[in-house]
């Protein structure tokens, strides 16, 4: 049904043109929270990619096999999805902490923060229940698992890209003699505003 | 210019014309000599003479039993007036032997060093140190660590600093002594290859060296570009080998000595002559710029007076070249074994008064000229913000302090000075 080209478009649309952070305002807490440090940003980005893909898979399965067949999805999807995501993240965190301390250091420590990251919930919901997010993706009313994963991958890579870009900008910002009142978060917001200004230039590419 | 000799580098105006043509002549022995007991990197010497003692030219007056050190000899015949202290060009206050020379001096004669079969012992006994400015005891350099084979000896005659012409005159006037030094070093090290390298702005010296060159000694002209004479850059330009980070240059199998050092080594081995004098370029805003053979311990003020005194408005007086030399806070400092020149920079020629709140406009000139591939702008910023770890992470300790970055900076940020602060902080942290 969906060609490679369409999937590629889906990916680019989700990653860049409709960048979740800079054009959708979703997931901003970690965007400002952890971007002050490059290493943390990279760790966070990798973890988000990992968690989002897992969460989308889980919610897709839950929707397809439990919520939709029972006809209770309309009003149960919020608690169901968030429960799944929170538990999943906590499970992975515990597992990593035990199984691979190295990986835990690199990635696991970011996992708790991701639970309360609205980007994950939004993306996982969109993957299971397309249209929720109003993300201009033209692939029909429901996504196959493959499409859902490509979409999720696109969103999470876009998240990571924006986060790392922003962290690099903030590294430079750290060295600038910004006035006391503007220092820190306010100037970071202004930077984000100008960065998002640049992303406006991409709106409408490929008609997305 | 066309050839790729090393990355980066700058072309500051040479200003060598006024002294390049002036033959070396003796500067008179002043009425009072201040001979510092620490003229080298390493352990300072202890005086071996006392107040009122009679000393002969070439007699040892300071020594210390340490590996990295070199003895100090009396440059003249005279009387020890005092064992005191003196300020040296670097700003430190060090112990010094103050000598009142005899009225009449025979500068041709000297007390020879103790003869020895070990050439390295002779070099040490003669107090030879690197005369390009680093003043590293030559014996140490001539004793490479075990397992490190030196196959190439490079004599550094690049003299890439603006204004300075002392090495140029030395190579032009005494090419056979330079070659003799090269041969001696080759014998000592057992190297296969000897290269005498100089910049292509000294064709006369190159011709003289070629004429004097013995078997197998190569004379290579390199494009004129600062800092061609820096050890790592010179080795790379000649051998296309990079000195690995954190290793000695010997790791490339090359040993670099300044041409003047080579002459001093030859003198020590062939006639037992200790190092008590050197050629100093006195130039810039002085009445009679030129190259002078100066006994160690002559005060800069005396030397400048001999050169006719300062002329016009002099903003900085520099010991060494204008790129790496040290501005003198007082002219009452002595010439030492490492003093290659005294440059009086008139107003207008000296770098403008810089201040550290100038912004970096990120023009990209400093990383482009850095011969070490560093990013001076960020190192300086980190140092200014006391972010030592960040500076260390960006290899601040690899800086060779050539000053090319500060030279090109359009906003005149004191890049090198900041980097030096960062470098020493990073090094002291690393040492902990």
């Amino acid at each position: 049904m969906s060609s490679v080209g369409q999937l590629a478009l889906l990916f680019i649309g989700a990653a860049l043109i409709n960048n979740i952070l800079l054009t959708r305002f979703i997931g901003l807490c970690p965007f400002f929270g952890v971007s002050s440090n490059m290493e943390t940003s990279i760790g966070m980005s990798l973890s988000v990619i990992f968690v989002m893909v897992m969460a989308s898979t889980a919610t897709w399965v839950a929707w397809e096999f439990i919520l939709a067949p029972l006809g209770v999805g309309e009003f149960l999807y919020i608690p169901a999805f968030i429960l799944i995501i929170a538990s999943l993240v906590q499970f992975v965190e515990m597992y990593l902490r035990k199984a691979s301390p190295v990986l835990y250091r690199a990635m696991g420590i970011y996992l708790p923060l991701i639970t309360t990251n609205c980007a994950v919930l939004a993306t996982a919901t969109e993957a299971a229940k397309p249209g929720f997010f109003k993300m201009n993706i033209a692939l029909g009313a429901s996504l196959g698992l493959g499409e859902a994963l490509v979409y999720t991958l696109g969103v999470s890579v876009g998240f990571g890209f924006a986060l790392i870009t922003f962290a690099a900008l903030r590294e430079r910002l750290e060295l600038a003699p910004v006035s006391r009142l503007m220092k820190g978060t306010p100037i970071a917001f202004i930077t984000a505003g100008l960065l998002s200004l640049a992303y406006v230039g991409m709106s409408g590419w490929f008609g997305l | 210019m066309g050839r790729s000799v090393f990355a980066g580098g700058v072309h500051p105006p040479g200003h060598k014309e006024s002294t390049a043509g002036s033959p070396v002549q003796w500067a008179p022995v002043p009425a009072r000599l201040v001979v510092p007991l620490s003229q080298h990197l390493g352990a300072p010497c202890a005086p071996v003479v006392g107040k009122g003692d009679r000393v002969e030219r070439g007699q040892v007056i300071g020594d210390v039993d340490a590996m990295v050190s070199a003895p100090i000899h009396s440059p003249v015949a005279g009387t020890v007036a005092e064992i005191g202290t003196t300020l040296v060009a670097g700003g430190q206050r060090v112990a010094a032997v103050i000598i009142e020379p005899d009225e009449v001096q025979d500068l041709a004669s000297f007390v020879p060093i103790e003869a020895s079969d070990d050439p390295r012992a002779c070099v040490r006994a003669a107090g030879v140190v690197g005369m390009g400015g680093a003043t590293f005891p030559s014996t140490v350099k001539l004793t490479p660590p075990k397992g490190m084979a030196i196959d190439t000896v490079i004599l550094n005659g690049c003299e890439c600093e603006p204004f300075l012409t002392c090495d140029h005159r030395l190579m032009l006037e005494e090419p056979e002594r330079v070659v003799a030094g090269a041969v001696r070093i080759r014998e000592m090290i057992g190297a296969k290859r000897v290269i005498i390298a100089l910049e292509d702005n000294k064709p006369d010296a190159a011709a003289a060296l070629r004429a004097a060159a013995a078997d197998g000694i190569e004379v290579t002209e390199l494009p004129t570009r600062y800092p061609q004479g820096a050890e790592k850059q010179l080795i790379y330009a000649l051998l296309k080998k990079e000195v690995p980070h954190g290793k000695l240059p010997a790791a490339t199998g090359a040993l670099v000595h300044n041409v003047a050092t080579a002459v001093a080594i030859a003198d020590a081995l062939e006639s037992g002559k200790p190092l008590t004098e050197r050629i100093v370029t006195v130039t810039g805003a002085v009445a009679r710029p030129g190259n002078y053979r100066v006994v160690i311990g002559t005060l800069v003020s005396d030397l400048i007076e001999h050169a006719g005194g300062l002329v016009g408005e002099v903003e900085r007086v520099i010991s060494g070249g204008p790129m790496t030399g040290m501005a003198l806070g007082s002219l009452e400092v002595p010439i030492t074994k490492g003093s290659s020149g005294i440059v009086a920079l008139p107003k207008g020629m000296a770098a403008p008064a810089i201040s550290d709140d100038q912004p970096c406009i990120r023009c990209g000139r400093c990383p482009a000229v850095c011969p070490m591939g560093l990013e001076p702008y960020i190192l300086a910023t980190y140092a200014g913000k006391r972010m030592w770890d960040a500076a260390a992470e960006r290899n601040v300790i690899d800086c060779i302090e050539c000053g090319a970055c500060s030279y090109v900076c359009p906003t005149k940020r004191p890049l090198l000075q900041l980097i030096r602060v960062g470098k020493s902080a990073a090094m002291s942290k690393g040492a902990k």
Binding site: V72, E74, F75, L76, P79, L83, G131, K134, M135, N136, A138, S203, G204, G207, L208 | -
Partner: protein, 199 residues
């Protein structure tokens, strides 16, 4: 195991209570929501073809044709309109892309295929910016000027709202799509059997 139960049971209780509460809330609100949706749809249909009754066309045979000609927009529903028992025209519910996401546009066409009216049923445009396609009334009012047999070029000739180009284009694309659906599919449709079809 005991410990596991100690942990699982509170979660379970919470889940049960939450599910029950939500199901109850849903049961109360669902009819109201359906009613709201129906009302909204009714209002837009009335706005484009006043005083008509609408029958949703549920003919799977034409759907493929419609989808083919409508692209890049999607026709969600096609309504067959009657007034006083006679065929009065068509209304198409078309999903198009605006700036903030999909927008659903309802287009009314008379029997000849000229536009009778355009309304926007739902959208996600930036308030105050993209929503100018609704608040600047001249914009939607220019569509009824489109004569029977209008083509894409005619639609493109209409003005857009400066600064809200993407939203304007969303509406224009929807109308152009509806025009194509009419000329390629609906105009050639056998109308027999449609009259009096139940909704």
């Amino acid at each position: 195991m005991r410990n596991a139960l100690r942990l699982v049971i509170p979660v379970l209780v919470t889940c049960v209570l939450a599910a029950a509460g939500l199901a109850a809330t849903y049961a109360v609100t669902a009819p109201k929501i359906a009613e709201q949706d129906r009302l909204a749809e009714e209002r837009s249909l009335q706005a484009v073809l006043p005083d008509a009754t609408f029958t949703c066309l549920e003919d799977s045979r034409i759907q493929a044709d419609v989808d083919a000609v409508a692209a890049p927009v999607d026709v969600l529903d096609t309504f067959y309109a009657t007034a006083d028992g006679a065929h009065a025209g068509w209304a198409l519910k078309v999903s198009s892309r605006g700036y903030g996401g999909p927008m659903v546009v309802v287009i009314g066409l008379d029997t000849s295929g000229s536009v009778t009216g355009v309304t926007i049923l739902s959208h996600n445009e930036t308030p105050g910016l993209g929503t100018k396609v609704i608040t600047e009334t001249w914009f939607l009012e220019q569509f009824p000027d489109l004569e029977a047999g209008f083509g894409d070029a005619d639609v493109r000739a209409l003005d857009t709202i400066s600064g809200s180009t993407k939203s304007s284009n969303g509406v224009r694309n929807a109308v152009a799509g509806a025009g194509r659906v009419f000329s390629e599919v609906l105009s050639g449709l056998d109308l027999s059997g449609l009259e009096g079809g139940s909704q």
